[in-house]
Symmetry: C2
Subunit: 693 residues, 2 copies
C-alpha cells in the first residue's frame, strides 16, 4: 500500500498543477470544475482525468519516426473497426482477398518502397456519456460543458473521437473541438490555414456531422447543425440542439454550418444541403439562407448536382462548397435486415445489391468526390507552394452498422476503399502521408453460426461461403413480432482499433497509440503548431485596423491564427465600456476567420469621439489595443487613408523592449492596405446585453 | 464479363496444377478430393480454396524485413482479440494505462531501440466448420479428413489457427498440424529440432489442448488427447475422440500425449496431467501409463507440484515435462457471471477478486512457469549454441470468454502480461525476437450501456468508471429463469487481429498479414526450413541401420528430419511383403522422432533368411533400402558389429552420379556406432492387417 499512497500523493500534486494551468489557459472562461472524486479517478498506470483532459494529455507516444510531409490525406472510415473491415473484405474479396486501397495503406512493399506502418489506438472519451446532449442544458443559458467531467467514458462517439485527432485534446461525447470545460481547441484546418496550406473536407455524411464538423467548427453540441438547429429550415430547433450562447443572435460564434463558412476550407464536398436552406438568425446575413450567405462570401456553391460538382474548377478566392444530398448520401448497397436466429437464413444467404439511389450511379461516389477534391487542391497555388491537408470520410459504415445493416456497411466500405485506391494512385507518396483509420469500433461481429441472443444476417461471401454477421449491442430490444429487426440502434464498441499509414512519417503509427496521437502525427508531419505555446504564438503578429466607410465603423482583425474566438471591448474617452462581445461561454464572441480577416462591427461609434478598442484572442490571450478618434461629422475621410483605415494596432510581444505602458498591446496608425470590399461585408452585431433563451 | 471469364480460366488452370502438385506431395496418401464446386469457390482477389490449402498458400506478405534471430519467444493469448486486450487494460490499468509486457512488445521506443512492429492478421480456416469432430467418422476407419474441403470457414478454432502458425498451412477447424487432406505438415518444433535448436512449450491449458498440441503432434482430431482419448484414464473413449487409424494399436502414430513424448521438447510445462494417467494401448509401452512411459523415456516428470517445478534444473538428455494440474489451470480471478440487462448492475459494478485456487498463489503463475522455462533453456547447450524456440500461451482468456466470464478473462490477461514482462526483462532482445499475438478474436465487446440482447457484466475499472462488457454470440440461449447466465458457450469471432513483435525481424509483422505468415516470420528469423523443398531436403541424410540383439531385429532410422511419419516395407528373398506399416491414413505408420532415432521393430525376421527393408519418409518421399541377411540360428553376432548392426543404408540423393540401379536408395553395410540401449527400446508393432474399429 505504501507505494500506492506515494503514487496518489504525486498524482494529487499533479492535478493541482494541471488545474492551475487549465485556469490560466481558459482565460476567464469557466473555471475548471473541481474534481470532487479525484481519489476515485486514480489510474494506476495511466493518467488522471484532469491530466487526460489537457491538450495532448492522452498522448501515448513520444515524438518518434517523425518525418516531414508536404501533404496529408486522412481517411476516416466511420465506425470501421477491424471487424467491419474483415466483414467487408470477406464479403467483397474473399477471406484471402485484399482491398486495393484500404489494405494497401500501411502495407510494406505494396506501394513500392514507401514508408509504411500499422498500429492500434485507444479511443476512449472523457466526461459523462452525454449522448443526450446534456451540455448547456442547465436552463440558465450558462455553460454546463459536461455533466461529469471527472469521468472516463469507455466508448467514444464520433464527435469526441473526431475532436481528438483534429485537436489533440480528449473531450466528452457530443463535443466538437472543445475540451471538457467547453474551451475551443484549435483544429487541423485552422492550423493548416495558419501555415498557408490548402484544406479539403470530403464526406458521404451530412457535412455538419461530427467527423467533418471537427475541421469546421467549435461546438459544445454536435447537433448544432445550422442557425435553426438540425431542421430542414421549416422550423427552428436551435435552442434544443445548440448551446444557446453559441448562436449568433445571442452573441456566439454560430452554428456548425455558419462556422464552416468562416473556416473557409478550399474544398468542402459532402451531404447535408438542407441545413444550408435554413435562415440565418443573427449577424450580417440575418434573414438570408446559409446558401445565400455562402454565395455572398464568394463560395462556388453546388447543391445536389453531381454534374455540377464534377464540372467545378479551381478559382482564386472562390472556395468550393458542394453538398450532394439533402441529408446523408444514399448508401451504395441496398439494406439488409438483421433478424433473430432462423435456420432458413443459412440455406438462403443474403447477396447484397446496388442501390438505385446511390449517387455513384450519377458520378458522385466517394471516389468521384475525392477525385474532384484532389484536382481542386492540386490546382490551388497554396497547395502547390505549401501543401494541403485533406480529410475523406466514409461515413455510413457507422450509420449502417448502427442499423444492423450488413449490406449497407459493406457497400460503404467498398466505396471508401475505392476512394483510397484512387488517391493512392494520384498523389506523390514521396511527399504525401496517407493515413487510414476509424474513429471508433462498432457492433458487427463475424460468426460461424447464428447467435441466439443477437440479431444476425447470413451473407454469401465472394468465395461462395456463408458468413454470419451478428449485431447484439442495442440498448433496447427492437425485434418485432416476427423476430425481425425493427429499427433500434446498435452501439459503438470500445476496443482499440487499427491505424495504417503510408508515406513520410508513416511509421509513427506503429505500436499502441491514442487517437490524440493522430493529431500529433499529422500536425507534426505538416510542420503545424502542436503545443499550446506554439499555437498561442500563432497570434503573435495579430493586428487590428479600425476603418470607416460612409459613417460606419468596423475593426478588421488579422493574424489571430492562434485563436478560434475573439473578444473585444470598446471604451469611450471616459473609460466607459460602450460595447463588448458576450463572454458568457467560451463559445461566445467573434469567430476567428483563420488566415483571413475577421471583422467586428463598431456601430456604437459616434462621429468625432475618441475610443479605445481592445481585441483579445481568447485562446492565445494576445491582445491588440487601438486608440482612435472617429472623424467629425461630414469629415469621415479626413483622418482615413484611401482604404478607410483610421487607426491600427499590433500585439506587443515584447513590452519591455518597447517600453509601452500598455503592456501586451501596442498602438499604431500604420497604413496598411485593406480592401474596402471587405469592409463593406462587416456587420457583426455588438451585444452589450446578454440574451438568454 | 470478358475479364472475369479470363480470370476464371486462368484460375481453373491453376487449380489443376495445384491438384497435381498436391497428389505428388501426399505420396500415396489420400488423393486430393475433387473440388466439385471450384467455380463457386472462386475468389475475385484472393486465392481459391485449393490454393489456400497448400503449404504457404495463404501467405499475404513476401519476404520483407527479414532479419535473423537466434531465439524466438512466441506469446499466444488464446482468444485475445483487440477487444479482450482493451477490456483487460481498461479494468486493470485504466483507459490510458498500459501493460508493462503486452503493450511494450511492438512499441517503438518502449524497449530501447529494439526493432518493433505491429500489424493485423487474418485467421480464417478452411473446410467445413467441423467443431463436432466430423473427421474420421465415415464408419469405415478411412480418413474423411474434412467433410467439405472446398469450403472456407470465416471463424477459426484454436487448432486450425495453431496449425497455421506452427506449420504455415491453412487447415480445417479441429486439425492439428495436418492439412485439409489429412497430411501431416512439419511444425516449428520439428523444424527447430532439425536445426539443432532447443524448444519449449508453456501453457495454462491442458498441454494436449490445441495451442500447445500444434508443437507436439499431428492429429486429425484435436480431441485425441491420450491413448484412451480425452478421459482421466478410467475409461477409453479414444475411438470417439481420435481417428481410429491414428491410434498406436491400429498402426498409427499415436495420440497427442504420446506424440508429445516422441517430439521430446526440452521443456514442456502446462496442465492436463490426468491424461498422462491413461493407459497406453499399443506399442512398446502398452499397458503402462503415459507418465510411466515418459519416465522410461528419460523425462524429468513433475505432476501437480509447483515446488518441484520450481526446483527443476537442466539435465542433459532429460527433458522436462511438468504438468501442474489435472486439467486446465485454475484462473487468476474468480468468475463473474454475465447476465441479462439489469439497471442494478450499473449501481453495483463488479470488482474482480483473486481466486484462492490460482496456482500463482503456489508459485506456478504463467510468469513462474515462463521463468522456469527460460532458465532451463538458457542452461541448455543446444540453446547456447543454436538458440531456442519457446511458445508461451495464456490459454484461458479464451476459455473464460467462452463462458461469459469477464473477470476470468481479465485475470488471465493479467497473468499473461506478467509473463511477457518477465521475458522481456530476461532475454537479450538483440538476438531474440519476441512476438505477441492471439489465435483468434472472441466475443466480448466494450459498451457504454447494457445491451438488451446480449448478456453483460458491468465492471468498475481501475480509474473508477463503469465499463459494460457484453457477450452475445452463443448459439443457444442459456439464460435461466432469473435471466442469469447458465452455462452455454460464447463463440469465437472472425475479425482480423493484432500481432506485435520486438527484436530482430519484428517489422515483418507490419501491415495486413495472414496467420500463416507468422510461421514464415518465425521460421525465417530462426533460419529454419520453410519451403516444401527445403523441408524435404531435411531428409537427404536419412539413414537406416538394421541391428539385432538376442535374436530380435529392429531398424533404427535417423535423419528423417523432413518427415513426420515413416512407412516401411519388409520383403523376403522372393519379393513377398512379409511386414509393412499401415498406410490407411496419412497418420498411419511410424512417428518420426525428429533429430533422434526412430526405431522400427522387425519381429517377422527369421534367422538365416535374406530381406530387403525399405523405409520411406512419407512427407519427403525419400527412401532408404537396406538388404540384409539375418544371421543363422545360433550365430546372431556373426555378421553384426559390436553394436549389433548388421546392415545399413542411406538415401541416395544423386542416383546418376552413383550409378545405382536402385535409384533413390542405396545399400551399405557401413559400421556406425549405435547404442544397444536404444535397440532394447524397440518394440513397434508391425501391422500387416489393417485394424478397423
Amino acid at each position: 500500500m505504501q507505494k500506492k499512497e506515494e503514487h496518489m500523493g504525486k498524482h494529487k500534486a499533479l492535478q493541482g498543477a494541471i488545474a492551475a494551468f487549465a485556469s490560466v489557459a481558459t482565460l476567464g472562461a469557466l473555471a475548471v470544475p473541481a474534481l470532487a472524486d479525484s481519489a476515485s479517478t486514480y489510474s494506476p498506470n495511466g493518467k488522471s482525468v484532469a491530466e487526460l483532459a489537457q491538450h495532448g494529455g492522452a498522448q501515448r507516444i513520444a515524438a518518434i519516426g517523425n518525418k516531414s510531409a508536404k501533404n496529408v490525406v486522412l481517411f476516416i472510415g466511420d465506425g470501421m473497426g477491424d471487424s467491419e473491415i474483415t466483414v467487408a473484405r470477406n464479403y467483397l474479396k474473399g477471406v484471402n482477398g485484399h482491398f486495393d486501397g484500404l489494405d494497401a495503406v500501411g502495407q510494406p512493399g505494396a506501394l513500392d518502397d514507401v514508408e509504411a506502418g500499422t498500429g492500434q489506438y485507444t479511443t476512449f472519451s472523457l466526461g459523462s456519456n452525454s449522448s443526450d446532449s446534456a451540455v448547456g442544458k442547465d436552463g440558465k443559458g450558462n455553460l454546463n460543458a459536461n455533466s461529469n467531467p471527472g469521468k472516463i467514458t469507455a466508448v467514444t462517439d464520433s464527435s469526441a473521437s473526431g475532436s481528438a485527432w483534429a485537436t489533440g485534446t480528449k473531450t466528452y461525447n457530443n463535443a466538437v473541438d472543445v475540451d471538457v470545460y467547453g474551451n475551443p481547441q484549435l483544429n487541423l484546418f485552422e492550423l493548416a490555414k495558419a501555415a498557408g496550406k490548402a484544406t479539403g473536407n470530403v464526406t458521404t455524411a451530412e457535412i455538419q456531422d461530427a467527423t467533418p464538423a471537427v475541421l469546421e467548427s467549435h461546438s459544445s453540441e454536435r447537433g448544432c447543425y445550422g442557425p435553426q438547429g438540425k431542421t430542414d429550415g421549416s422550423s427552428n430547433d436551435a435552442a434544443k440542439r445548440c448551446l444557446v450562447n453559441q448562436l449568433k443572435e445571442n452573441g456566439g460564434i454560430g452554428s456548425i454550418s455558419e462556422q464552416l463558412l468562416d473556416t473557409r476550407a478550399d474544398v468542402t464536398i459532402g451531404g447535408g444541403s438542407k441545413y444550408f436552406r435554413q435562415t440565418v438568425q443573427g449577424g450580417e446575413y440575418a434573414g438570408k439562407t446559409v446558401w445565400e450567405q455562402a454565395k455572398e462570401m464568394g463560395y462556388q456553391a453546388v447543391e445536389n448536382d453531381p454534374a455540377a460538382m464534377n464540372a467545378l474548377e479551381y478559382k482564386e478566392g472562390q472556395p468550393v462548397l458542394a453538398l450532394m444530398s439533402d441529408g446523408n448520401m444514399p448508401t451504395k448497397f441496398n439494406a439488409s435486415k438483421a433478424t433473430a436466429k432462423d435456420p432458413s437464413k443459412d440455406a438462403n444467404p443474403t447477396v447484397c445489391t446496388v442501390n438505385d439511389q446511390w449517387l455513384g450511379n450519377q458520378g458522385s461516389s466517394l471516389k468521384d468526390m475525392s477525385k474532384k477534391a484532389l484536382e481542386l487542391l492540386n490546382a490551388n497555388p497554396a497547395s502547390q507552394s505549401n501543401g494541403f491537408f485533406l480529410q475523406i470520410e466514409g461515413a455510413s459504415i457507422d450509420k449502417q452498422d448502427h442499423a444492423g445493416n450488413a449490406c449497407g456497411q459493406i457497400g460503404e466500405t467498398d466505396d471508401f476503399d475505392q476512394a483510397i485506391s484512387y488517391v493512392l494512385q494520384n498523389v506523390d507518396l514521396s511527399d504525401t502521408l496517407v493515413i487510414v483509420t476509424a474513429d471508433h469500433a462498432h457492433t458487427s461481429q463475424i460468426l460461424n453460426a447464428q447467435p441466439a441472443y443477437a440479431l444476425s444476417t447470413v451473407l454469401k461471401t465472394a468465395d461462395g461461403n456463408n458468413m454470419v454477421v451478428s449485431y447484439g449491442t442495442a440498448q433496447e430490444d427492437s425485434r418485432d413480432e416476427e423476430g425481425g429487426y425493427n429499427g433500434g440502434d446498435m452501439e459503438h464498441t470500445g476496443t482499440q482499433l487499427r491505424i495504417a499509414a503510408s508515406g513520410p512519417g508513416a511509421q509513427r503509427v506503429i505500436g499502441l497509440t491514442d487517437q490524440t496521437d493522430n493529431f500529433y502525427t499529422i500536425a507534426g508531419a505538416l510542420g503545424l503548431a502542436t503545443t499550446t505555446d506554439q499555437q498561442k504564438a500563432l497570434s503573435d503578429n495579430a493586428e487590428v485596423k479600425v476603418a470607416t466607410e460612409n459613417g460606419s465603423y468596423a475593426a478588421d482583425a488579422t493574424g489571430f491564427n492562434g485563436d478560434a474566438v475573439l473578444s473585444y471591448e470598446l471604451k469611450d474617452k471616459s473609460g466607459n465600456v460602450i460595447a463588448a462581445s458576450d463572454s458568457t461561454t467560451p463559445l461566445s464572441g467573434v469567430r476567428v476567420k483563420t488566415a483571413q480577416t475577421t471583422a467586428i462591427a463598431l456601430d456604437k461609434v459616434a462621429e468625432g469621439n475618441e475610443y479605445t478598442l481592445t481585441v483579445t484572442g481568447r485562446q492565445s490571450g494576445k491582445s491588440v489595443t487601438v486608440d482612435f478618434q472617429a472623424p467629425a461629422a461630414g469629415s469621415s475621410d479626413k483622418n482615413a487613408d484611401k482604404n478607410g483605415v483610421i487607426a491600427s494596432g499590433k500585439v506587443n510581444n515584447n513590452p519591455k523592449a518597447d517600453g509601452s505602458p500598455l503592456g501586451e498591446t501596442g498602438t499604431a496608425v500604420a497604413v496598411v492596405a485593406i480592401a474596402v470590399a471587405m469592409l463593406a461585408a462587416i456587420a457583426m452585431i455588438i451585444k452589450t446585453v446578454k440574451i438568454t433563451r
